[in-house]
Symmetry: D2
Subunit: 313 residues, 4 copies
């Protein structure tokens, strides 16, 4: 369980607070507010705040004086139009803030998305928790033979057991040495009075990349969709994909019309290159096209046939 009793109590107390607001409010998201969705072995995401709803997208696109909404179906139609024609700015009018707990190596991928606001827990200033990510056995994958940055079969037997033991022991030992170097009791006094203790900003370097960190992360809906398009994708590393999937699940509750448009025009959509389009026209004309004479590489041919639900041969 990623949260202590004290933390759970703080969260529940915050959930009790209620105020009246004139702002756009989404009951389904209010219901989720503050509560942690557990991810991986010690991580979570929880929604801390949000601004706007489906109506806010429409309101901004129309630069309207009131709520901007007309009939629900008309609004959904406009949102689909905006998504299809890549009008990104109306989606930027919705904003969401998460508290995220995640392994450092995942945080390092995540932070590459620059269009977001981030406050990370500071290991210069504070002591890190003794928590590290250890993959579940079914996630312990071999290097993919086909793809230099993918996963292959799951490790088995002794090799799997040994890998898990190494990950566990190394993370634990390194943390214990980190704590020893800090020489700092919970009340801030020295554990061993004969030692000074190493500065926090230095001691942290002994931690492993599967140590958990946490941050407040805030972004707008357009950039959130972009993050999810890349990180909820099958090519993304599993450990960040679980976060992207949980975020998408939240978005579905928050802005259902925008989510549906995103699902149709991005997640479920496929882009065909100029060469693929040429192949498609030949196929539709009834021609039998093979990879050899297609102008596509084997990999592209495979991707295209996969998208069309056809045999790759």
């Amino acid at each position: 369980m990623p949260l202590t009793d004290d933390q759970l109590a703080e969260i529940e107390s915050q959930r009790q607070s209620g105020a009246t607001t004139r702002r756009a409010t989404v009951p389904a998201l209010e219901d989720r507010l503050y509560r942690a969705i557990p991810l991986l072995d010690h991580g979570f995401i929880r929604v801390i705040d949000y601004m706007g709803d489906d109506g806010a997208i429409v309101q901004a696109a129309r630069v309207s004086y009131g709520r901007g909404t007309r009939r629900v179906s008309e609004d959904a139609g406009l949102i689909r139009y905006l998504m299809r024609h890549r009008h990104s700015t109306p989606f930027e009018m919705c904003e969401i803030k998460f508290h995220v707990k995640l392994p450092i190596f995942v945080a390092r991928q995540w932070i590459r998305h620059r269009m977001a606001n981030v406050n990370e827990y500071s290991a210069r200033y504070s002591v890190m928790d003794r928590e590290f990510y250890i993959p579940a056995p079914e996630q312990l994958a071999a290097q993919s033979a086909a793809n230099r940055q993918g996963r292959g079969d799951t490790l088995q037997g002794e090799e799997a057991a040994h890998v898990l033991a190494l990950l566990r022991d190394d993370a634990a030992r390194n943390y214990d040495h980190y704590a020893w170097m800090l020489n700092e009791a919970p009340d801030g006094t020295a554990v061993d009075g004969s030692r000074q203790g190493l500065a926090r900003e230095l001691a942290r370097m002994n931690l492993t990349l599967n140590a958990y960190t946490q941050w407040y992360w805030k972004t707008d809906l357009h950039n959130l969709f972009h993050f999810c398009a890349l990180r909820a994708d099958a090519h993304a590393q599993y450990e960040i994909r679980v976060y992207a999937d949980a975020i998408l699940d939240t978005v579905k509750d928050w802005v259902p019309a925008a989510y549906a448009a995103f699902a149709d025009y991005r997640l479920g959509a496929v882009t065909f290159s100029a060469q693929m389009l040429a192949v498609l026209r030949r196929l539709l004309a009834g021609e039998a096209v093979a990879q050899a004479g297609s102008g596509l590489s084997k990999r592209e041919w495979g991707e295209m046939m996969g998208a069309l639900g056809r045999e790759k041969a």
Copy 2:
């Protein structure tokens, strides 16, 4: 008055809506929500939505599980510390959205602040309103003799009258020709059935730069402060300064502790260069320093003496 009766009714109806929320809520800002603050002759700003409050800054800086707040005085102290040491990311955790109506030449300065989300009323798609900014007589200033991008004395008499007449007549005539070229009745039919009407995206080029446009503008508190530091400054053009001042006034209601820190450490603060610091040390040592031997240019010397409340001689 910048708003029609229909628009006022839409706004009032939106103000009637109320919902319960678990989010951070600021009563003083709720009270302002949606209502237009008139600016210049036809412009306004109105707050459409907001996320966060003073507590949200503290909560993010501490990456805390609950509200983050301790005693109000402790929070204010942390906020002052963050502002003083230029920790910008906690201030990015608050977000605000405005609906702004403003002359196009002001919009062109404003848009140079890139760290914001904007949806502008589209003159490709819609017909512009017949409204233009005409300066009040006391704002009709001559070119400054001292400063190539500033204003000098107010124009008087015939010259002032003629300038106002030109601005008024040219804007009105150009708008009327714009409307004639469009050839479009309010219901979308042609005014003159024998003419096709020019495309909106072309006709708009006949409008003057004092025509009013409007947009939804959303940014975070850090970037809002940066905008205000530059645009509420005495060197900013009056016509954008009135917007920055009205925004600051709103910020004061929204995040009073952050506003106070901004007022002390930015608005009311002065930066002394390395050379100015050297002069300051000599002055404090009781030395009589004159501009000539100060290492400062006349302009810098004047700025420094002004900041210290001293004679410039």
Copy 3:
């Protein structure tokens, strides 16, 4: 001709300068440097500086110590892979800077691309040139009946003549009044000694939106491609499209491999939504699908059939 003799001489003198450099250098782009490509009636773009070439994309993607290039074909293959899989950061490693002269209403669309560096000629500080965009007769289009933000047929006869006369006369008159209000001779003295002259920052508001402005604009290749994907598109307004087309033409000389990948995977590519993919599978299975039972709107059906080169019926 958009340039004076003095400006042409300045440009030619800059072109004479030559230095030896260890940096990546592209002869075809060197050949274009500084020279203005005329666009519209008084506008232009000219390349002022650039950083990187096709090899720099590869070098960064591999984080290599040397030039990064292997065989040209291998590099091109990597660039195509990066483009296909939307790896944007290697393309950000190339940077280009343009000097652009363009009508203000075009500048207002252009500036919405925030990921760029811009220095615009300041009408607060300087006097604007007496130049405005007047569309060529074949560009004088009526409002599109089908598309609220597009163009229809070209205006003809008297209507066309009258529109052109209005655009010309209004721009000229407004400029002349601008100049009168400034009351400023080329040497900075007053034209009429009995008048003070209106401040430049105010007088400019009398100009029309087809007045020409100019700026230095610098961006990276990834954002340049994004700009071109939106602005060289058939849906973009003609007056900005001519700039995007000229930029693309320059890019072709600068980074030919990246340009080719962009042409295949963006410009010439089509994205099919989830619903369109379903239709595609049915078509490939030999089914006769009509718009009615397709799950697509008429507009989407039309777009899809257009992309496939089929009858829309």
Copy 4:
């Protein structure tokens, strides 16, 4: 030594390349191109490419047709004016690209500067080098008692020795286990044919935060100055400060006039708050002011007296 002989040879071969260019060229920076400046125990920075010089700042500020430069002294004056009045966009017209090798915990601070382009060596795709940062003995500092995120005295004797041994052993052991889990010989075959080897994207999580990574990093001069103002500051962690210092040293060769302005108006400048200004005026009026009645906190008082070169009592 951070570079292998092969890498040094690649670098030297790149340095031999020379081409003629019409672009702004800075001989002092050309001389540094590609060569690594060693930092910490295994890190470095090296300049890979650059765009612009002091003249390019002036050229953009003036939106000029030619080189933009007049007399050198006039240009330097304009650059100082731009820096003093926080005109940031002309400085954005210069761009520089570095190849940087740095410990991961430093990379994590660095990446928080979002306004830059980055390509990092991918541990999903490639195998990391066996290199980790071990502080020099004089950098092995205790936690500061006065400042929660600073360093105090240097550790001595046994404690120091033990800390160094722990850092060294843990990093080495974790790397060796990382290599064992990968089970991958330099030629890509398995070391132990009976094992599959863990996917690279998983094995990397066993590395410590002092492992070295590397990236290509590109930014403009304005954002570079901002980075240096924060990271070359006395409050920055030593391990990132050495990089910021080395960058500043490079900037001095590249754009000497801009560097001088930055040194005077940022690095060597001090900002006094509204309250500090009030104290300053009282001091200059000859009043004896003590912290107690100053309106400043002890910390602020100390900072102010330090800036003025006065006793803090």
